[in-house]
């Protein structure tokens, strides 16, 4: 319905080159426009869809109260799981829709493509889930509400050494992912610093691989006591499955890329047992804030929220909170408010942005079991 109504106007906007052409300020004065850029189609669409679920849940809450008498209206763009499309979408949101802020995206390589454009247009861009260190170095308008890869790698190295009391670790990386490579580097450094040894050879696989038997056979020769596997749930699940069926019993350690109910599905009953991962939040956290969120989410979407949903929820909440604190409803005042976010009580932990606009907040360590990930403990920075 709205499609047909929108068609002529938008065609007109897109096609006319007239200087005095169409007016873009036809939006309701009571609405604040916020753009989102998430992968709704393509390779990592599940992350985008889950993030948007969390965002929409939060939005209902925000608009129930209102922000300075306004309501937030989202303009959602799909980046098709591609970097170029992220840049195009950010450009459209910044210049055509004239949004006050942009929320997105998930994969760091996508956010990195959009960030310089947002910085140049001076639109605050807040990423809820891109953990790569580089992202927020693009300028003062780029911030994030999640922790960075460095922190996560350290948490897992410490966990392997102190909690599991393991001395010899092996690392399997996804060679086509910077996320995975970056985490592997941090883990290697911190684990050796703590006195453990990491097997020199780096075992690697490619995104989309499905048969890891030869790789795992090679790995089992070096007899590691613990295996660090920073990657995404898809391949990680299959690796767990195949490793256990080959009688590799050493625990695998993962990171937030594992955090999806799909991991259980891929790894199977036997493969999932006895592994650990770090993540942003646990649905089993006893904190009332978290359990309320889980209840609401389950009521709305009939499934348990994953980390992406929680991060998306917190991301839009931080924008709303910053809008409330901003002196005026302009991009520059909003930017000032976002970077001074302090002790915001989110469901993924207390969010405080440091001077590099990265969130300093807690990570959780979870144990993977067939029924879901069991909450072990929280690690504060």
């Amino acid at each position: 319905m709205s499609l047909i109504k929108m068609l002529p106007k938008n065609l007109f906007i897109a096609l006319t080159l007239t200087i005095c052409g169409p007016s873009f300020s036809q939006v309701n004065d009571k609405e604040i426009l916020v753009g989102t850029v998430f992968p709704m189609t393509g390779g990592i669409a599940t992350y985008g869809q889950e993030s948007m679920n969390g965002i929409n849940l939060a939005l209902k809450k925000i608009n129930h109260e209102g922000v300075k008498g306004h309501i937030i209206k989202l303009i959602n763009e799909d980046n098709k799981s591609e970097a170029i499309e992220t840049a195009n979408a950010v450009r459209k949101l910044a210049h055509i829709d004239k949004v006050i802020a942009i929320l997105g995206s998930v994969a760091s390589s996508h956010t990195l493509a959009g960030a310089p454009i947002a910085q140049e247009a001076k639109v605050p861009l807040l990423t809820p889930a891109s953990t790569n260190e580089e992202v927020t170095k693009k300028g003062d308008y780029i911030a994030r509400t999640c922790f960075t890869d460095g922190f996560q790698g350290e948490v897992m190295a410490k966990f392997a050494k102190e909690n599991l009391k393991k001395m010899k670790a092996a690392i399997i990386v996804e060679a086509s992912s910077d996320y995975s490579k970056g985490l592997a580097k941090v883990f290697r450094e911190s684990f050796t610093k703590m006195g453990g040894t990491v097997i020199a050879e780096e075992y690697s696989y490619q995104s989309g691989d499905t048969d890891f038997r030869t790789l795992l056979r090679k790995l089992s020769r070096s007899k590691p006591e613990v295996i660090f596997l920073p990657g995404y749930y898809e391949e990680a699940g299959l690796i767990l499955n195949q490793a256990r069926s080959m009688d590799i019993t050493a625990p695998f350690l993962g990171t937030d890329g594992w955090d999806s109910p799909k991991l259980q599905e891929k790894a199977g009953e036997k493969g999932i047992v006895g592994n650990y991962m770090s993540s942003h939040f646990s649905a089993e956290d006893t904190d009332t804030l978290v359990s309320n969120f889980v209840k609401e989410y389950e009521a709305a979407y009939k499934q348990k929220p994953g980390a992406m949903a929680a991060l998306g929820y917190d991301g839009i909440m931080v924008i709303a909170d910053s809008l409330k604190r901003a002196k005026t409803l302009t991009r520059s005042d909003l930017q000032k408010a976002i970077v001074t976010t302090k002790n915001y009580k989110g469901i993924t932990g207390n969010i405080t942005l440091d001077k590099f606009r990265n969130a300093k907040k807690s990570a959780v360590v979870l144990e993977t079991t067939p029924h879901g990930n069991e909450f072990k403990f929280k690690v504060s920075p």
């Binding site: 499609l3 897109a14 709704m40 189609t41 493509a113 310089p116």
Partner: protein, 294 residues
């Protein structure tokens, strides 16, 4: 209204970049008849070479001179790759050549992915922003003139004869291998310039920007416009760069169908209009192409 232009001008720059890519591929596929599926590989080589120049070697001179040098770097590197790939592969015919070029395109991407100096899977960031719409279209116009004049000359005619019948033109004394290599090298050189303009426009390169899918999309551009037609290639590039952005304004449901629409478009074109919108004809604009028509 400045905001609208901030959106439109980069979009038009992208249109220009794709025009250059389509013109280059059209020379290889449409005019010389050598079916290549690895154009995104040449594009990637040019982009990364130019990006590396911008990041590591660029001296402190005015931007437009740097951009020019960068385009030359992209062009030459890409042309060398074209030569290195063309000489072995052009001994193959038709569908075999298609698969071999596809293979080369993928190998280039895998090698970039694993080269740390080029950013690897992190992508190449912080490339200086030198591209502007003026220089994009300066290159576009330059290439259009070169190609149009080239086609009118003896080399262009020889190239077309290779497309029409390789064995016959060989027996007429035309060195077909030379012309095939020439087409690939020039096409690659153009893709290299497009890559340089792209690198300095986006400021960020990632190996996954240059997948096989982009080779297909560029191919679709020239098929849509009409294989072998210069204006057809331009028209195809314009349509297929603007169309996805228009779909963006029509809501996500249509945008989700983009690749499905493209695939059906490919099939439908082949079934009903294999010669594309223009066939091998040209559109006469402002008498640009008039001179040669006698």
């Amino acid at each position: 209204m400045s905001g609208f232009f901030d959106y439109l001008i980069p979009l038009l720059s992208n249109v220009g970049i794709f025009i250059i890519l389509a013109l280059g591929l059209n020379l290889i596929n449409g005019i010389c008849g050598q079916f290549s599926l690895g154009h995104a590989g040449f594009w990637a080589v040019g982009a990364y070479a130019a990006g590396a120049y911008g990041l590591y070697f660029a001296p402190e001179i005015p931007n437009f001179i740097n951009l020019f040098i960068s385009c030359l770097v992209g062009m030459i590197t890409s042309a060398l790759f074209g030569l290195a790939i063309g000489i072995p592969c052009l001994r193959l015919r038709g569908d075999y050549l298609a698969i071999a070029t596809l293979g080369f395109g993928e190998i280039i991407r895998i090698v970039i992915m694993n080269t740390d100096k080029l950013g690897g899977p992190r992508g190449m960031t912080n490339i200086p922003h030198w591209t502007n719409i003026f220089w994009v279209y300066a290159w576009v116009i330059l290439f259009i003139f070169i190609i149009v004049n080239f086609l009118k000359g003896p080399h262009g005619r020889a190239m077309i004869s290779v497309r029409e019948d390789e064995i016959a033109s060989e027996s007429m004394g035309i060195n077909t291998f030379k012309y095939k290599t020439m087409a690939v090298v020039i096409g690659a050189a153009m893709a290299g310039v497009a890559g340089a303009l792209f690198a300095h426009g986006q400021q960020f390169l990632h190996p996954n920007n240059f997948t096989f899918m982009w080779s297909v999309i560029i191919l679709l551009m020239i098929i849509l416009g009409g294989l072998g037609s210069v204006t057809g290639a331009i028209l195809g590039a314009i349509i297929l760069t603007i169309l996805p952005e228009l779909l963006r304004f029509m809501g996500t449901t249509i945008a989700e169908w983009r690749m499905v629409i493209y695939s059906l478009l490919l099939i439908a074109l082949m079934l009903w209009r294999p010669s594309g919108i223009l066939g091998k004809r040209e559109i006469n604009l402002l008498g640009l192409f008039k001179k040669g028509k006698t």
